[in-house]
Symmetry: C2
Subunit: 215 residues, 2 copies
Amino acid sequence: MNPATELRPIPSEPTLRRLPWYLAYVSLLKSQGVGHISSTAISKEINVDASQIAKDLSVLRIKGKTRIGYQVDELEQALGNFLGFTASHKAVMMGVGSLGAALISDRGLQRFGLDVVAGFDTDPSIIGNVIKGVPVFDVSELPVRRKAYDAEIGIIAVPVDHAQQAADMLVQAGVKALWNFTPFRISVPPGVVIENTSIYADLAVIYNRLSACRR
Amino acid sequence: MNPATELRPIPSEPTLRRLPWYLAYVSLLKSQGVGHISSTAISKEINVDASQIAKDLSVLRIKGKTRIGYQVDELEQALGNFLGFTASHKAVMMGVGSLGAALISDRGLQRFGLDVVAGFDTDPSIIGNVIKGVPVFDVSELPVRRKAYDAEIGIIAVPVDHAQQAADMLVQAGVKALWNFTPFRISVPPGVVIENTSIYADLAVIYNRLSACRR
């Protein structure tokens, strides 16, 4: 156990979810050649209390200077490192239909540290395909391939009625974290990380707010 | 103003975000030929209190029967209608790079009522392309095309340093709701709906939980 790792504070989920906003803004400032930024200035742009921002950024263990603020370069790097975006995290894709293939094609995820190394499917017309360099295998090969790639993350992009089954297979094959793109609520054994995306819920919120505006 | 519309309760955002989970489960039950389902049975599967589920479902104004529960067909249809997934909502895509093209290619979004009718970009190598039947135009054509299509929703999939500019252009062109896929916190005028996806924040949470498990 690395003592430095042990000392690192575990941030709350709301903090973790705000940090990428700061990173996006700081990266923009960097591209504009800005040298320093204060939490007050971030606050004006991001619409989060400056005191909350200072508290969130304290998990990074870097210090802003009075009146000058944080050094933009240092803050960007510290945020990227802390969030895990600068490391490479191997993932396998379960289901290479429309959504799975789209997610593999979005190499933008790589800039956030996600390296999809292989896809798995049951459809003979999909198995054997290579999408942006990522091979698609028969799902029966999952345990062996997962181990060979040493992939820790399993992305679930199968039809909703196969979501739980896909999750069970991924966990069985040794995956430690699941990223669920289906709207199905998956059950996982203790110790397995599960994160659900909300893109369908996002759509429901958009539609509802739009129809409320029309009243 | 339709009196029926006026009477429809406006659900809270947490309720709105849970309803798609119920829909996914109810659709699964329907595919399995199940006729009725109680909120208690949904609760066991979804891990939400049965009383909360009953309260959430009360916005649908359909009645479950004592001991039998809700009729699965009726519940699925009511959920889909209420969430806006059974209607068609026209959207334009700002930015047809890796992510924008991937989102257009994911025709699965159509099953949730999202109809991406056109893409817009500044890159001459992308303008003029047609992706799964969706044409990509020069961004200068946005105002005219937006109006011709009567698209209410603008999806933002541009690089983070162009996110605010893209949002401003969409609002200027008459879009009423923005769906922001960048991690940048966009400002919009009052009355414009803004919904931010959290896929990068999801990744940060996954990486952090994985590294916490390793300790």
